[in-house]
Symmetry: C2
Subunit: 280 residues, 2 copies
């Protein structure tokens, strides 16, 4: 296992045990509410799949179903290959952890993914009607790591990145919901590690849930999260926007777009999540 | 196996073999291009998962990865349960078919799904910023089953439903691409079977690919398709809209919304697909 100078690489490191099995040590720094951040876990899974696929390093698509909250500590990741193709390969992957008393394994996430080589897609024509989010300048946005202590105790992962929230959608910091159905921010990893396709899996699930802006603070457990990585990001901070268009029956979908510094839509994701239980 | 008066039910029927295994006879009527329609196959998978989950009949979310084109004829579906919860249950499901010479099984689709009970979600408040598609009146739209013979030979499934395309996005019928990045239509099953949550899985992948409107006719193979069913549709035809916002590197995402006759957003889906190879 190569040790990287970057904290993020160390936190998603995986150790091959043969036959598609990997071990990892899940980093408590990515704690949010009752478990570890779903995006962080997705990056760990992505790292294991990438290790299995020679020549197909990039997640074109990954769909994760969350089964139980992951904890800091040891984990086992198993990759089962469904198809090795010329342009893409598809695999199933699951992450489990030892139970409290260590006598059995508890499933945390199960996922499916198709990987390929984004660089090989080259400079094909791009037809993009999506527009980058309109965000105030980087230094006019609010740094999430300067959140109140009570929030940081609930969301330790706020120290893992430099997230600069649009002041218009910063209820998570100010406690004043905007009523807007979206939240947007600039995003960099805390250690300045460049955001590559694997890190994008993490980026897609790090902003506060949009429900925070709708007056429903708290953790919104993810049922399902699919991320499509569409291009290798240019260097520099990315802009991230989460939006919901349909909150009903205690469920809401959250659409996420990640734009790089060259105004390219590098990733889109959608998740189905459960609305937070009202405090008190 | 109960035999339904409805053709659609017969075409998605599954026969339990015990231990989560089911057999099915895939209906050649759902042929499109080189294989069977991905939405139709998703409904077959959904039907098998539904049979496994007592009290959780509805697909809150299903994510399918397509491995090889399915053919008309026998198929085996295997459901493996990941979690049975109080409100939702999660399973993995795979569909395979005998190879040409019958000596081995070929994987067609692998999927993950979380099912629950939509009726139990009740009349929770709905916060919906999405708007139903603006479609011309039902009888002013163009019936897909009246397509030219050459098209119907390539897309036999056009006879399986009454799809009435917005004349503004009917390049599949007229051969004249609009240049618009969307396609929209009214939709009913051919036999008038009410559209329930399982049928919605099919509806989400029946419109022509949006690439048809962008001057790239032909079949667009799906890499990944996730459908979220959010409510039980009211009786009557649904309205379906597919849109792409990012076509690049030979890949495009297609977002789909399905609205019922009561103006409720009953399903959303997103797929990552491969642009059609240019004819000639």
């Amino acid at each position: 296992m190569t040790v990287s100078v970057f904290e993020f690489d160390r936190s998603i490191a995986i150790d091959p045990q043969g036959e598609g099995t990997y071990t990892a040590w899940l980093d408590g720094g990515w704690k949010v509410g009752g478990g570890l951040n779903g995006g962080y876990l997705l990056a760990v899974l992505g790292n294991a799949i990438k290790a299995e696929f020679d020549g197909h390093p990039d997640p074109y698509s990954i769909s994760a179903y969350y089964l139980s909250p992951a904890k800091a500590g040891p984990a086992v990741i198993r990759v089962a290959i469904h198809r090795r193709g010329r342009g893409t390969s598809t695999a199933r992957v699951a992450l489990s952890q030892p139970s409290h008393d260590g006598t059995e394994e508890v499933d945390r996430i199960t996922a499916l993914a198709t990987f390929g080589d984004l660089a090989s897609l080259g400079d094909q024509p791009v037809l993009e009607t999506a527009k980058p989010p309109l965000l105030p300048a980087y230094d006019q946005c609010l740094l999430s790591s300067e959140a109140p202590t009570a929030l940081k105790e609930f969301v330790p992962m706020l120290d893992r990145f430099a997230m600069r929230l649009d002041p218009a959608t910063s209820a998570v910091l100010t406690g004043r919901p905007s009523g807007l159905p979206y939240v947007q921010a600039w995003f960099e990893l805390a250690d300045g590690r460049p955001i590559d396709p694997i890190a994008l899996l993490c980026v897609a699930d790090t902003l506060p849930p949009v429900t925070t802006e709708l007056g429903q603070p708290g953790w919104a457990p993810t049922v399902e999260l699919t991320v499509h990585v569409r291009a290798i990001p240019a260097l520099g901070p990315v802009r991230v926007r989460h939006e919901t268009q349909n909150l009903s029956g205690r469920l809401f979908e959250e659409d996420c777009e990640v734009w790089d510094s060259a105004d390219r839509l590098v990733a889109r994701s959608r998740q189905l999540a459960i609305t937070p239980r009202r405090a008190g």
